[in-house]
Amino acid sequence: MSFLVAAIRRDLLLAFRRRNDIVNPLAFFLMVGVMFPLGVSPEASVLSALAPGVIWVAALLACLLSVDGIFRTDFDDGSLEQMLVSPQSLHQLVMAKVICHWLISGFCLAMISPLLAMMLFLPGEGVMPLVLSLLLGTPALSMFGAIGAALTVGLRKGGVLIALLVLPLYIPVLIFGSGTVQAGAMGLPIAGYLALLGAILVFSTLLSPFAIVAALKISVRS
């Protein structure tokens, strides 16, 4: 257990010190918040109708864009090799990486999503459903993304592969997630949507670690 914590701490430390942070999920998220009104329409009535979908699409893209880094830098400087030959459990390591990715993407996004909601004039009733749906939905995004990242980390010419692999897995989350917020903003019940997001979360938490570890070994040892 304490190894898991140490691994999360290391990854968080590295994330804070990372230099090439153009794909920083938070920055991306906020940029969308600034650009969308400028590009599409500054009017509150237009923006507020779009806000649920736009915020969820932005969150999803933010996750997708940052997912490639989960294993990449460790692969490039030999740290991943060291992890593979270490006696520590790969499952814990991989879970630490997923959790860290979620903390710097999904969790942060959920925390600042009320700000974005304000910038896009999301009706007040939609804010709570937004935060909840992001909190429930984004961990699955990190896990699915990690599977794709693990499969492609050893490849020298990945191309757009990872996006292609991950996108189909992301779409259900997007649909249920934005559905939650739309329903919430209109004052409809959201429990059904949240239950679906929860089910996806449980399912992916149970299965994805095995998939990630297997993918990682295949990819690095190729």
């Binding site: 691994a7 590295l14 030999g78 060291q82 006696p87 520590q88």
Partner: protein
């Protein structure tokens, strides 16, 4: 301890070695030789289970290595071309993580290891601001810390100054004298006081095909 039988490896339709066999026992140093591109790194990675592109059998303490990976990893210290040093972390943070990752790195405290490796006073400098040799020293601090019996080292002396090389040689000598095993590659003339080194040349291997 480690036995290799009839190992064959091919990359990009170029046979690197075939029919390779050797045994390494306690207290032995095996130096893999060969010109650039002869397959030394590939061989070491195969031994560590980091490359699967091979045919043949590898045994660890008499048992097929795939069955005893867990135990083997406990007994192994591997330092590759890339030492797995994070440029964004300081030497101290790097060492702390290495010691978490491999519980066999427990001979000294972090501060002692940093001192031994010649980085006293640099513990708070992020590694990207260290010189090439200093970065390599961070990775090689593992040699001071390790109590693992088998060491596999790929060009451990790169970028080190003469004093650094001599220190590492002394460490290797100490390790084998206390019954450890070292398999390494280097283009440097290795000197292990009081030990004879076994050599294996991969050039002859390739031409033997």
């Amino acid at each position: 301890m480690l036995e290799v039988k009839n190992l064959f490896c091919e990359r990009d339709e170029r046979v690197l070695f075939g029919g390779l066999g050797f045994t390494v026992n306690r207290g032995e140093v095996l130096q893999i030789e060969g010109q650039n591109g002869s397959g030394k790194t590939t061989l070491l990675r195969i031994l560590c289970g980091l490359t699967e592109a091979y045919e043949g059998d590898i045994f660890w303490q008499g048992r097929p290595i795939d069955e005893v990976r867990e135990a083997f990893f406990h007994a192994l210290l591997y330092v590759g071309h890339l030492a797995g040093v994070k440029a964004a972390m300081t030497a101290e943070e790097n060492l702390a993580w290495m010691m978490r990752l491999d519980p066999m790195l427990n001979k000294y405290s972090i501060a002692e290891a940093l001192d031994k490796v010649g980085l006293y006073g640099y513990e708070d400098v992020p590694c990207y601001a260290l010189s090439a040799g200093q970065q390599r020293r961070v990775g090689l601090a593992r040699l001071y810390l390790s109590t693992a019996p088998i060491w596999i080292l790929d060009e451990p002396f790169t970028a080190l100054d003469k004093k650094g090389v001599a220190e590492k040689e002394a460490l290797i000598a100490e390790h084998v004298n206390s019954g450890g095993v070292v398999i390494l590659t280097t283009h440097h003339n290795l000197q292990i006081p009081g030990k004879s080194i076994r050599y294996m040349n991969l050039d002859q291997q390739a031409s033997a095909q």
